[in-house]
Amino acid sequence: MSTVTAQETPPGADLDFQAEFDAKVAADQRIEPRDWMPEAYRKTLVRQVSQHAHSEIIGMQPEGDWIASAPSLRRKAILLAKVQDEAGHGLYLYAAAETLGVDRTDLTERLIEGRQKYSSIFNYPSLTFADVGVIGWLVDGAAICNQVPLCRSSFGPYSRAMVRICKEESFHQRQGYELLMRMMEGTEGQRRMVQDAVDRWWWPSLMMFGPPDAESPNTRQSMAWRIKRDTNDDLRQKFVDMSVPQAEKLGVTLPDPALVWNEERGAHDFGEPDWVEFKQVVSGAGPKNAERVERRRAAHEKGAWVREAATAYARKQQSAEEATA
């Protein structure tokens, strides 16, 4: 790894490096792992990319719960592929985080010890099969809104991971919407189930964009660094405007009495999410926080023997090779 370690900074050279870094960002060039970068930029990225990775991994659980009870082989196969994608997304992002000089094992430990956060959305339960559809439609829809601009994020490995992820998210959203369309063609009970799932997931989906701009202290710096490209409120607005016609077409009502088209703004006005609830869920008091993290821990610990066996096998093969050489 000696060829790929980060650059040593000679004393006093910081200012030149800073100017070069600023110029690259201003010119919309990408920062690559071995480039000099301000320590705060690196730290912000480690936090954002690893929390994003954790979200993908924890995000396997609400839908994973339904794999065994999916109503048809077709739905089961789709759901398996989708949950496998989430695992893949987590791995792309852990790999991107590692280019910043952190270790994936450490990140996993930070997650299962509750020292790092993940998206608040995955702390809500998936109560019926309609939730699988609504998660695909709204939760993945919101994720797409968030992630498409991140394909132009200033850190190269992060933006490249986002390009791969966005290509795959489209399948996630469409399978969810199609599932809901099918249910809406069904019985009155099935339609009620869809509406109930929409009622429960709509507000948490809006919270996925984070706190309002006025209360998001990191946004301005992250945008100056072009790690983030849009503010939380702008993305939330975009998501609402995208979702309204989709809800109409589907025949469901979005549970917000304040939701109305504003001709003047050319956008929808909408109500304020419950930010008290948001803070509670983020800080660990959501309906499923403890269970999500506990399951992740159990999976990690129960998988230890597999990792050990693979390591032992690799070592054995290597010594066998050395013996015959």
Partner: protein, 103 residues
């Protein structure tokens, strides 16, 4: 995601591999990302599962990251200077009248 990459050492027992995929016949293998694996065979299997779930490739290379020798990250590195001042290596260096066809 990191042959051009990484600060500290990865898990010593599971080395870091860089993954290169040939999208289809006739194209070069292109770097697509990285992963950890206990050995070469597992690295190849993991790369298939991680980077080619949708027919993204017809061939995969995995290379232990520690076997990659990289140039310095500095774009103004004198390493690249030899090509910097040889404008005559480019076709646009040679003015040709516009009415000369097919050149």
């Amino acid at each position: 995601m990191s042959n051009d990459a990484t600060g500290t050492a990865a898990r010593p027992e599971w080395p870091l591999y860089e993954v290169f995929v040939r999208g289809k016949r006739g194209l070069n293998h292109v770097h697509v990302g990285s992963l950890h694996a206990p050995d070469d065979t597992m690295a190849l299997h993991n790369a298939r599962n991680l980077y080619t779930r949708r027919n993204e490739g017809v061939s995969i290379w995995v290379v232990p990251a520690e076997h990659i020798t990289a140039s310095s990250p500095d774009e103004k590195d004198p390493f690249f200077a030899p090509s910097g001042d040889k404008v005559y290596r480019h076709p646009t260096f040679y003015p040709i009248p516009e009415d000369v066809p097919h050149i």
